[in-house]
Amino acid sequence: MKLSEKAEEILEALWIAVEEGGAAFLDPEKMGFPTDDAAYRELTDHALIEIRQGMIYFRPEGLDEGKMTIRRHRLAERLMMDVLNIRGDDAEFKACQFEHLLNEGADVKVCTMLNHPTTCPHGKPIPPGECCHKARADGDLGVVPLTEFKSGQEGEIAYIQTEDNKKMQKLMAMGVLPGNKIILVQAYPSYIFRVGYSEFAIDTNLAKEIFVRK
């Protein structure tokens, strides 16, 4: 099912009001466009919502669709912030446009790339999708920063994510190269890891920038 952007926005607003705000319905006045807008027609035709006494209510089928729409929006927000490093109003605006592209499997790809995030940058929950449940069931940790490893855990270095070129070169000179085996020896008070037969101590900020695969 492919909905218009406006229709998706209505679904999102309704889902937030009902699921997170605890309301029973949403006043269309809050949406900023009148009830005779084509988007409402589109939603009622798909049997996702119904309009009673001028207020918008979910139909059972719509609840699920709303959840997925909000999921796409929040994934888009994460993408803006974590990967593209765009923040603030600009990020919000771009996320609003981007979310509409995240259908037909694109959301699964983005969600996996972001390693199945559970919250949006504003701290609100991202409703889990199929892929999240599957990853949890498989126990697949995916690619995580070194800080997520437990002491004694062994893995492979996936990549280094830092904007500082010098830092990257320093890490590479220490043997932190994609594909090398790494063992986290200790996590507190400083991170100690072993590559080959050498041990290194680093602080949390550096440890956050080394991404490892279990």
Binding site: I160, N165, K166, K167, M168, Q169, K170, L171, M172, A173, M174, G175, L177, P178, G179, N180, V185, Q186, Y188, P189, S190, I192, V195, G196, Y197, S198, E199, F200, A201, I202, D203, N205, L206
Partner: protein, 661 residues
Amino acid sequence: MASCCSKKTEIINHGNARKVALVGNPNVGKSVLFNALTGAYVTVSNYPGTSVEVSRGNATIDGQQWEVIDTPGMYSIHTITEEERVAREILLHETPDVVIHVLDARNLERMLAMTIQLIEAGLPVILVVNILDEAERMGLAIDIDLLQQKLGIPVVGAATARKRGIDDIRSAMNAYRCPCEQQRFEYSRLLERDIKEVACLMQGEYILSRRALALLLLQQDEEIAELVRHREGDGYAPLSEKIREIAFDRRESFHLDLSLERNDMVRQLVNGVFTAPLKRVVTAAERLSRLAVQPLTGIPMLLIVLYFGLYQFVGVFGAGTVVDFLEKKLFVEIFNPWIIGVVQSVIPWEIIQELFVGEYGIITLGIRYAVGIILPIVATFFVFFSFLEDTGYFPRLALLVDRIFKHFGLTGRAVIPMVLGFGCDTMATMVTRTLETTRERVIATILLSLTIPCSAQLGVIMSLLSKFPGALAVWGGCLLLLFIVVGMLSAKILPGEAPMFYMELPPMRLPQLGNVVTKTYTRMQWYFMEILPLFVLASVLLWLGKITGFFEKMITAMTPVMASIGLPKETAVAFIFGFFRRDYGAAGLYELQTKGLMDARQLTVAAVTLTLFIPCIAQFLIMKKERGWKVASSIGLFVSLLAFGSGYVLNKALLITGLLS
């Protein structure tokens, strides 16, 4: 690639002495090899980055003269840190006839990447696979012959700390001839094309091969770019355009691609050369290391080290037993009366007698303080420090305290100069240059000049205040409080980013007695060369001041200041002493206390003020050298004001609360 050979033979024919440079990562035993070759001992250390200064020495091998240069540790020919830059400068400008790359056998795979870079640069390389003994203990096997064959350069296996393989290295040096055809390490087609495009545009003569220069230019190495720009003149414009073009095309991951390609090369090289046991051997040293880095066991361990090392050995034994014997027995009872007699019978003029054996005499005061009080304390401290350094404990201590030091704008790395400061603040100020950023260096310099008492000062003050445990606690509390407050404030006020902490942990080992002794000896030598002239100078100035009456005037001038912090005017003398050397000042207080001129409160105030008081002349001069006069003077002024300010506040606080009275 032919660049090295043609020029080298020319140089060899010029003089009889050939030149050899030792290069490699920190902590692979370069300095030990240096000492073994030259016979003279310089500081050897487990601490990465200690050999900031370059050591040179001479050796004669079968009649052939060699100049040996020990370079600071470097991880790669593409330099990042100051030390690495110095090391590369030597390779670039001193045209060594042989470059010995020393590496740690256990980390062959990681460190061979630099060997490849050196060979690629067309340098005359001999590879020394060092620390073989420990590698063997871990069950690692390394086929040296096969490695030699694969690399196409001489390879020697060694364990320099155990004197193994030194002779082989010597003969390899003498036998070294530039290979007619050097091994060529092929990169991927894409990278080879980039290298060729850049190298083709270079016309000038260089010490490093064009291939290596091309790679360095592509890595945006500014110094190399400067060098090439200078050499190429007008031809540099198209070259720099080409580099910009390639760098932009490959902006995503040039550094990473290059490292990965080299990593692959190394993997192929070590294939068949390096065999590791299936199961990792855990040595006793490793288990000890685990205990040292976990807070639960590490902190008790630190306390044990401090108690036995610093308190029992330096404090009780050095500052107590030995000082009592040397100063009280040897000097006051035997040597001084004798020398006074001798001088008085030889020199008829009373004024000159005063200069040597008077109240502030060169011998009776200067030499007595230096040898009788300062020497035993500092010597025991340096034994303790050198021993600890060689065990590899410091990097572990650094990671243990990193989180705390971050609050002061420092990283755990700064713990080494801080501990050394308890020995000699001047030496410690010099060592702050191993810290990464200027900001860290300035903060460390402030904390050292303000709150860290040096061993001599510490020893004297401990024995001064030991009769009043409360006073000792107040003194310690004041210093700790100021350390924390000033540290946190400087972290807030001084501009700059929070530093990052990374450090290699060398394996822990039992230090070799010989190394500890020679290291202590070198440090003592440095220390004595520095303090003895100052002590003599101080004696002369004090004597001059006394005979001209200037000294009396100064004491009178300082009396109101002393009075404001509740001290008798005689303490002014100690403060004037303290300007020459911190320890001198403390020793002056000691004198006053034996005369019974001060009570517990006054002693405490005096001790706190004097500990905080401006760094001695020597430390100030080093501060000026390391930080520049502007920063040094600001710190000096700030510290002096804070010292007297704190003395004033403390005196008032003690009077009001009635504590210690």
